[in-house]
């Protein structure tokens, strides 16, 4: 039996864990599975940061999960930018949690890839070559969309979370 993987999101000052989120909608509220229509971003402002992790809830018959890659497909509205801590080189190690902010993130400073990275860009245990050989979580993925005053609200794109599994 293969491994079971879920995506979790962490919110508020208390680092509340929302396990197995249903979407990663981004907007003007620090909450999981948010209604982006009810919580739109005013052009020129930012979304709240998202803090998310991949979690192996059962390894099944597999021995290892590694090589986590994160990227977005689909265009953002206008000249908005999508920033993240995920990166293939000079990885900053495991990011620690801080209450998500709506001001420009100091943790998500790299441009989110718009195609599949060639190698891992989110670490496990603080390293891009890290792996999970038992239940546990990846490092924090931190990301935020920063908009421009001339942007149009309401873009839709997909965030891709990929991992390799060794039987």
């Amino acid at each position: 039996m293969p491994a079971t993987i879920v995506i979790n999101e962490y919110n508020t000052v208390g680092e509340s864990k929302e396990a197995n989120i249903t979407n990663t909608n981004m907007g003007s509220d620090d909450s999981p599975n948010l209604d982006a229509v009810a919580n739109p971003v005013v052009p020129g402002e930012n979304t709240y940061e998202k803090y998310q992790k991949l979690e192996v809830t059962a390894l099944g018959g597999s021995s290892k999960i590694d090589a986590i890659k994160i990227w977005r497909t689909g265009a953002l509205g206008g000249s908005a930018v999508h920033k993240t801590n995920a990166r293939e080189s000079a990885y900053g190690g495991a990011e620690s949690f801080a209450t998500p902010v709506v001001t420009a993130s100091s943790k998500a400073i790299e441009t989110m890839p718009s195609s599949e990275p060639s190698g891992a860009n989110l670490g496990i245990g603080g390293s891009l070559t890290g792996s999970l050989t038992a239940t546990g979580e990846s490092d924090y993925l931190v990301h935020q969309i920063q908009t421009d005053a001339g942007d149009t609200a309401g873009s839709t794109s997909d965030l891709n979370y990929q991992y390799d599994e060794t039987a």
């Binding site: 039996m1 293969p2 079971t4 864990k17 396990a19 197995n20 249903t22």
Partner: protein, 70 residues
């Protein structure tokens, strides 16, 4: 162990520890627990089996490549 305020997104139930979350029978997943693939398939990721097969395929490919290097 650090205690977190954990909420199962599909059923909304809250837990103090991750172990409690991992062992709960999710009402939105027909009683499957988060350790079961059915939990993910029935609640958030209907195509999880396909995703899982792709992940296993990449892992198998890496294993073969690593054995060639040796």
């Amino acid at each position: 162990m650090k205690q977190l305020n954990i909420r199962c997104s599909p059923c909304g139930e809250r837990f103090n520890t991750n172990e409690e979350y991992l062992n709960h029978k999710c009402s939105k997943a027909d009683g499957f627990t988060p350790k079961d693939q059915e939990y993910v398939i029935k609640t958030t990721t209907a195509n999880f089996a396909k995703i899982s097969q792709s992940a296993l395929g990449r892992g198998a490919k890496k294993k073969i490549e690593a054995s060639k290097i040796k």
